[in-house]
Amino acid sequence: MKDFWVWWDKTRGTLVLALRSLWVNKLRAFLSVLGIIIGVAAVISMTAFGEGSMQDALEDIKRQGATNVIVNSLKPPDDGSSQRRSFIANYGLTYRDYDQFLLIESVVRSVPMRIIAPQEIRRLDRMQQGRVIGTTQDYDKVNQIELAIGRFLIDSDNDQDEGDSRSMRNVCVLGSNVAEMLFPFEKPVGQTVVLNKHQFIVVGVLKDRMALTSSSGLQEDYNNDVYIPLRTCRARFGETVFIRQSGARGGEKVELHQVTLTVEDTDKVLDAGAAIEDMLSTSHLRKDWAVTVPLARLKEAERARDRYLQLLAFIAGISLFVGGIGIMNIMLATVTERTREIGIRRALGAKRKDITFQFLIEAITQTSLGGAIGVLVGFGGVYLIAWASQFFWGVHVPFLFSRRPVLISAGASIAVGIFFGLYPAMKASRLDPIEALRHE
């Protein structure tokens, strides 16, 4: 205990001395740690921006669901056989495929989708263009969407009395924008809209849903979508969708456009994805499908982040090394200037290790203060850049501060102080007391 207090007195005294000595040469001390300040500030701000954009990307992926496997129908590239100009292109996922997916053990939920590309949705004299999506009651769960009012599709909406097509449930759920355009003054739930000449009763409206970047890189806007039961969709719209494209008429026969599967655990997602790929490559002759595993993208994003951080660490390492050399240089000069002081201290009883300690503490104090200033400059820089790009260019730059780069910067600053301060400090301690005392 006494030892601790003795040590404490000594350390405190040495620290106070270091601060005073630095204060005497404020400008010089500042200039010599400039390298460290800049290095640390760069690390802090670059990680903040990197983490910020990474965070955005991760949120995006998480919205797609980390336990999901998304299987899409894909129009295959034109091959020789289709040169026969068959009007109807027949491709994509089938109801059989869908049934097969359900055999995979880890799959807990499976949502099929038919997407009928832009249709006119009418309400009295109002009209809005929107995609019609035929799906099942689990769609809202796998896609983590929320209802503003009413309900989503339920199990019984897809029930069917065998052979009786008239018992189809003509119900629909509207995307927020559709609801807004068609029902500017009334409550939409309970009202009817017209889709492809059929009347549909609105049972619910979704909350605003953020657009997300799909695997193909397209921004998808969900707010113009209308959701109807899958069976109803098949019955009312048929299996073939006709499209008019730059004058040419054509048709597509696609049973299912997309199937979103939810797997019980993130551990099993990649395996499930692989199993589905296997399944489809044996049952389909052409590559008219695509499997997307958001978790795989997440992994990839994390790898990209790690590479970014490695690069950053490399740059930071170089700038700290250069900064450290600056410190060493200035410490050597300091030792020469203060040779006489060293002689006096030695004469008054300082041991070699006391002298080493003193100059080491001085170097560490200098680099830690530099590191601290660097952290503050980094924070300030991030806010400034984010504010300026918002203010002048209207660009939102995401950023995120985390504790790790701050701790690492602090550790690195101290380490640089020790590493580059040690040699000058040792040099100081090896001076001969008598010669040091004679030094002018």
């Binding site: 002689g343 006096i344 030695r346 008054l348 009883g349 300082a350 041991k351 006391d354 005392l437």
Partner: protein, 259 residues
């Protein structure tokens, strides 16, 4: 009388590139407790070299040196540092105060290296010493703000703070005018009267005249070693306060040592 300093055939040789300099050529020399020795001699005769040996700043090439009974001629660097911080007080020609420190802090430096706690008591003691040498109103001044005489008085206070067995002074008045030199010498004589052993190098006969004993060196030898019979006497009225404070501090030290 107890011998505080005893050297036997002390030699110091510097091996330079082309020449060998024999700065001390066998100095056998003894100083008793309470003595006041003036080391004199021509330039280059080895006075500073001997004083550095006595101050444990260097080890002899040959010979033995006993400081208060301990043979220090074989000690390593750390042990010598310990000896310096605990048993020796230094007064230099150029004062050698630390510029970053205030008066009180300068006085405290030797204690800093003693591995002892620096508490309020040590601080009070340093303040008392500063007051004793007449710098009670300058406690927080830096050396740069003090005159040469004032700086040397701080150095004296610093040399006393660790209750040394010997005070070593290398031309303590070399940078001072004669009036200030007198002040400093008055203080040293009074310290000596109070029982402190002092060894002082000087060139000036006036200064040496304050000492009890004068040792003359030549070419690394002790040439003559005589008692000073016509010793300059300190004036008593001038330093009443100093004496008063000194006796108080010494009494305190004794009381502490007894406890």
């Amino acid at each position: 009388m107890n011998a505080v300093v005893e050297t036997y055939d002390l030699e110091k040789t510097y091996f330079l590139e082309s020449v060998v300099v024999r700065a001390l050529r066998g100095v056998t020399f003894r100083v008793d407790e309470g003595d006041f020795v003036a080391l004199m001699g021509p330039s280059g005769s080895g006075k500073s070299t001997l004083l550095n040996q006595l101050g444990c700043l260097d080890r002899p090439t040959r010979g033995d040196y006993f400081l208060a009974g301990r043979n220090v001629s074989q000690m390593d660097d750390d042990q010598l540092s310990d000896i310096r911080s605990k048993y020796l007080g230094f007064i230099f020609q150029s004062y050698n105060l630390l510029p970053q420190y205030t008066v009180v802090e300068n006085i405290q430096v030797p204690l800093f290296y003693q591995n002892a706690r620096l508490d309020d008591r040590t601080h009070r003691r340093c303040v008392r010493l500063a007051e004793m040498v007449g710098l009670g109103d300058r406690l927080d001044h830096r050396p740069m703000q003090l005159s040469g005489g004032q700086q040397q008085r701080v150095a004296i206070a610093r040399a006393l703070v660790n209750r040394p067995q010997v005070i070593l002074a290398d031309e303590p008045t070399g940078n001072l005018d004669s009036r200030t030199s007198d002040d400093i010498m008055q203080m040293l004589v009074k310290l000596n009267d109070a029982g402190k052993t002092i060894i002082m190098v000087t060139h000036e006969n006036d200064i040496a005249a304050w000492a009890k004993r004068v040792v003359r060196m030549r070419d690394g030898h002790v040439e003559t070693d005589v008692r000073n019979i016509e010793r300059t006497q300190p004036s008593h009225e001038a330093n009443e306060e100093f004496l008063q404070a000194l006796s108080e501090i010494l009494a305190e030290e004794e009381a502490e040592a007894a406890a």
